[in-house]
């Protein structure tokens, strides 16, 4: 039974966010808001070339500028023994599939130094750091650093990287291909294809995009010469990992490094790994014995933030005459950019190529490659939107080409409830769900049946209307370990120290709801404490739908331990046996007598007759690794109208049904869905990072060229969710952060292609820009 006071704020309540008060009044504290007395400012000189050997760097003119304190480059970096970025190229969770090379060789990796040592391998790679008394002076001086480059041929396009004559980034590897992996069962797949009545084919490039959190990165490093400690104030995807990575790079013991972050202006994966600049300001602060600060400008973000997606796919789906899926095969090339930084989107995609359909056999080749582009890393549902796009496109292509109804084809092949848990043909085991019901719900919500009337109406207005459907599954794995420390304070507050900080997900509220639910204390009295590694011991960070999934487990278990301890304490105070004490409505009852949790905490603090483990503070720690994956899933319907004269697309309706398991804060979950949809639709229709294929130059270097979705690109979304408890989570919670994005690429393009049906269009590569659509209409009109 829940206490009446706490019920409105426990699990399932749309509690208004606690963090909003400071954020709407301008009192948040973002990375650039940190200041230190005597701080110097760093500016980075970045390579204008995609691929070049550094012949010489002459900093003398820059050093002569008044106010300049240092100009540092690769030579000093090497001399000081600064280590490369400690990338983990593959996902670290035991549930994700292994990615061994087919020939038994090791996956190629090369050191990613914080500054270019001998060669630059992408436009924007750091060549020198200028530290001065103001940003303006540092910028003026940066213009004076002379760098002599020997320009090399470059390769940026993903398909081009694997060609025999492609310029090679890392000579020691001999080619740009870093791994060559085969997953699935080739023999079974070939056999199934041999028997197929139909084969649907796609060759597509899921284009490169940028995560674009609205807060540009910034970092303030403060080296304390007296203690030898380094403090870095910088927003990232997780403070604890950043601390360890920074300690490694600058060669300091982890206990001598402190990372602080308060408010973080978005992440989406972009902030998930340490950045060169974070290490460089720390190094400069230590060298100069003065605080050093750096703040990115947006155009610098486009040249320095990790980018995302960029997967080239060739895939085939085999069907029998009745439309039953028989097998799937293909090849995925994941463009990691200039450094071997992260291949996990390739891995996390290829392991679920077949989605939630019953595909008996599958075989895929997967190759991570390097190119003269920014390094990539996971971004909003890493790897999964790409492959869901491929599968959902293949289904629509098969339907159009072989005369099946799109919805019926999905109904025919979606996994049945009885088939779960299900071992997919690529090595993953799905938990539970009701895929059919959820799909039927979204068809209802999106009024699939009423579409033709709306299409006819659109036609009268001169518009082409289309509707699309897409299902998805999302592999939630990520760093398996999380830690919570729950303390009940005698003054009526509950402190929850937890390692994973919010970058907008609302943890201060939703995590507090968990403590409110488990300990029956008003949410106003729960404090979520995070973001300072001197307080927080461990935390995996926000990614892969792990935040709430793992936080709920460790906060729940720590809360249970608090209750168990409290019962023993109450028994001592009230005189009785611990087993007779009941925890009800936030109070510990023994017969007629009762104590609040806070009374118990006070007793723990004040009494001197307690056994060691009951002495104050009333506290419990849960540090646990969760080695099972979760598989959130759902269905989206998107409806578009196209102006045939311009090729412009308007999203006129967008409906979602996501199974989030038990919903902790429905308001926040809906918010996550809305934002996720916008990022997915953004990729489908407008966003793209473009490098000139010939020159390797970045052509989308600011908001003047990189199209960010705006308010007038969308209607109100119709977002619903199913709440089928997740069987791999003790509380039934399923991740809910990525579902907005995962199917959005596929469903949007499915709708666009459907609208263009009468012109014979069967596929369009992303982004479906007005010009591309207009051309397809022109070609179609000519052909008919």
């Amino acid at each position: 039974m829940m206490d009446d006071v706490t019920k409105p704020a426990g699990i399932g309540a749309s509690v208004r966010r606690k963090e909003d008060q400071r954020l709407v009044t301008g009192h948040g504290c973002f990375s650039d808001d940190f200041r230190a007395p005597g701080e110097l400012f760093a500016v980075f000189l970045r390579s204008p070339h995609p691929h070049a050997r550094i012949v010489a760097i002459d900093p003398s003119a820059a050093l002569a500028v008044e106010g300049v304190r240092a100009v540092l480059s690769g030579a000093e970096l090497t001399a000081d023994g600064i280590k490369p970025l400690p990338h983990h190229i593959w996902a670290l969770h035991p549930a994700d599939i292994a990615m061994p090379n087919t020939d038994g060789s090791e996956t190629f990796t090369a050191p990613h130094h914080a500054m270019a040592i001998d060669k630059v391998r992408h436009v924007g790679e750091i060549v020198a750091m200028i530290v001065a008394t103001s940003i303006a002076i540092a910028k003026d001086a940066a213009d004076l650093v002379q760098v002599d480059y020997d320009i090399l041929p470059s390769v940026t396009n993903t398909w081009d990287t694997v060609e025999a004559d492609a310029p090679v980034l890392w000579e020691q590897n001999g080619s740009n291909v870093c791994g060559d992996v085969e997953v699935g069962d080739r023999a079974a797949t070939e056999k199934a294809f041999a028997q197929a009545a139909h084969v649907a084919r796609i060759r597509t490039w899921v284009q490169r995009v940028a995560g674009v959190p609205m807060e540009p990165r910034a970092a303030l490093a403060e080296f304390d010469p007296a203690t030898g400690r380094m403090t870095l104030s910088a927003g990232s995807g997780g403070s604890v990992r950043l601390k360890h990575d920074l300690a490694f790079m600058i060669g300091a013991p982890p206990e001598d490094v402190r990372v602080i972050m308060k408010d973080v202006g978005g992440n989406f994966g972009t902030r998930g790994m340490i950045y060169p600049e974070f290490c460089l300001v720390a190094w400069a602060s230590r060298r100069l014995q003065t605080p050093v600060k750096w703040t990115a400008e947006r155009s610098e973000s486009f040249q320095s933030d990790y980018q995302a997606r960029d997967l080239a796919v060739v895939a085939e789906l085999a069907l029998d005459a009745s439309g039953k899926f028989l097998a799937m095969r293909g090849s995925n090339i994941g463009n990691a950019g200039a450094h071997t930084s992260n291949f996990s989107p390739l891995q996390k995609g290829v392991e679920i190529m077949t989605s939630i359909y019953d595909v008996p056999a599958a075989c895929f080749r997967a190759r991570p490659v390097v190119s003269n582009t920014l390094p990539t890393r996971p971004y909003r549902s890493a790897g999964r939107p790409e492959v869901m796009f491929v599968m959902e496109r293949l289904i629509d292509i098969a339907a159009a080409e072989f005369g099946f109804d799109r919805v019926e084809l999905r109904r025919r092949n979606l996994l049945q409830k009885a088939q779960l848990p299900y071992d997919n043909p690529l090595g993953m085991t799905f938990d539970n769900g009701d895929y059919h019901t959820v799909m039927e719900q979204v068809l209802e919500l999106g009024d699939w049946r009423g579409f033709e009337a709306r299409r006819a109406d659109a036609k009268r207005r001169g518009k082409l209307r289309g509707i699309g459907l897409a299902n998805y599954v999302d592999t939630a794995t990520g760093v398996p370990r999380e830690r919570a420390e729950v303390t009940v304070r005698p003054d009526g507050q509950v402190d929850v120290v937890i390692g994973t900080i919010s970058q907008g997900q609302g943890h201060e509220t939703s995590f507090a709801q968990l403590a409110t639910e488990f300990l029956h204390v008003p949410i106003e009295q729960v404090n979520i404490i995070t973001g300072d590694t001197d307080v927080v011991k461990f935390g995996g960070g926000t990614h892969s739908g792990r935040g709430m999934r793992l936080a709920s487990i460790v906060i729940w278990k720590a809360s249970n331990e608090i209750i168990a301890k409290s019962k023993r304490l109450a028994a001592l105070v009230l005189g009785g046996a611990p087993d007779d004490v009941l925890f009800e409505r936030g109070r510990l009852r023994l017969g007629e007598k009762s104590l609040s949790l806070f009374d118990v905490a006070r007793a723990a603090a004040e009494r001197n007759d307690l056994p060691d483990d009951l002495r104050a503070p009333l506290c419990a720690v849960c540090d646990e690794s969760v080695n099972e994956a979760a598989f959130p899933y759902g269905s989206h319907v998107c409806e578009v109208e196209i102006d045939p004269a311009l090729g412009t697309v308007e999203i006129v309706n967008y409906s979602t049904t996501d199974d989030v398991g038990r919903a902790v804060n429905p308001m926040i979950i809906h918010g996550q869905t809305h934002g996720g949809i916008a990022q997915g639709v953004g990729q489908a229709l407008m966003e793209q990072i473009v490098y000139d294929r010939d020159t390797g130059q970045l052509l989308t270097g600011s908001f003047m060229d990189y199209t960010m979705p705006r308010a007038d690109n969308f209607p109100f979304f119709q977002a619903a969710f199913a709440e089928i408890p997740c069987t791999t989570h003790p509380l039934g919670i399923r991740p809910a952060g990525e579902g907005g994005t995962t199917p959005a690429l596929g469903v949007t393009i499915n709708a666009v292609v459907h609208a263009l049906q009468e012109f014979g269009v069967t596929h369009i590569d992303m982004p479906a820009t007005p010009e591309k659509i207009w051309r397809l209409i022109q070609q179609g009109a000519k052909a008919t």
Binding site: L646, V690, S702, M704, Y706, T707, M708, E771, W774
Partner: protein, 270 residues
């Protein structure tokens, strides 16, 4: 941004005198100038802020012409009662410039003097038979825009007002860039008793007119009159968002839309 000397003259003459110094640039709203300076695409030793120069803003009718002061902001043009009654197309154009916060600050004089190839106002200058009034002289709008960011203005010359000839009917149709919000193609169509003017911005190095379409519309001001026209156009801009031939298509399409909007409008009485 590189540093500079800031001037805030109180008279037009003082402003002109300050601009006589080498490497000086006048600033009105600063919505184009400051971004280019921030990105270090341009820098100036002297910035002459025209904010304190009096009598440069406002919209009035004078001898059958609409006079818009150079420092009139886009939002003032967009919401001018006089324009909504007498030349609504110009107000509509202003309502589509940049975004509301930029419109609160940016001015017509600054926009015209900057001559961005993708700015909106140049199309109105050409189509509405405008005269650019400066501290030194009056310049026909027809000869004002000479190329990419190039105008007929002399270094010490300051735009003080723009005079537009009221059209019988007019409309502006813009295809805006989804990221920058500038015009990929903007077409301004104006019908006069003796001629029709069709001016297009965004599509080429600078604003241009399309005589071929103007001739067709002079005889028959309707969409039907230009239904199958394939006009000869100057070299089209090409960028990531729109290739040259897509832009050429958009030119015709935007002209068509502007004509449709203008023809649905009642001809304004004098």
């Amino acid at each position: 941004m590189r540093d500079f000397t800031y001037h805030r003259p109180k008279t037009l003459d003082d402003a002109a005198a300050l601009l006589a110094v080498e490497d000086s640039r006048p600033m009105s709203g600063g919505m184009s100038l400051l971004p280019s300076m921030k990105l270090r695409l341009s820098d100036w030793a002297h910035i002459v802020d025209l904010a304190a120069v009096p009598n440069l803003s406002g919209v009035r009718e004078e001898g059958g012409q609409i006079v818009v002061g150079a420092r009139t902001t886009h939002v003032q043009v967009a919401t001018s009662q006089l324009l909504h009654a007498r030349l609504p197309a110009l107000a509509e154009l202003a309502e589509g410039i940049g975004d509301p916060l930029v419109r609160n600050r940016g001015t017509i004089g600054g926009s015209i003097a900057n001559a961005d190839p993708a700015a909106d106002y140049p199309s109105a200058v050409l189509a509405l038979r405008a005269t650019i009034v400066t501290n030194l002289r009056e310049i026909s709008g027809d000869t004002f825009f000479n190329g990419l960011f190039e105008t007929a203005l002399e270094p010490c010359e300051i735009v003080t007002a723009v005079r537009f000839a009221r059209a019988r009917r007019a409309a502006y149709a813009k295809y805006r860039h989804p990221a920058s919000r500038y015009a990929v193609v903007g077409a301004f169509v104006a019908q006069y008793d003796d001629e029709v003017r069709v001016a297009v911005t965004g599509a080429s190095s600078h604003v241009f007119r399309i005589a071929e379409i103007e001739a067709l519309l002079r005889d028959n001001f309707s969409v039907a009159a230009i239904e199958s026209v394939a006009p000869t156009l100057p070299a089209m801009n090409a960028d990531l968002f729109a290739s040259a031939d897509y832009r050429a298509h958009l030119v015709v399409e935007m002209v068509r839309r502007a004509v449709a909007a203008a023809s649905s409008r009642n001809a304004l009485a004098d």
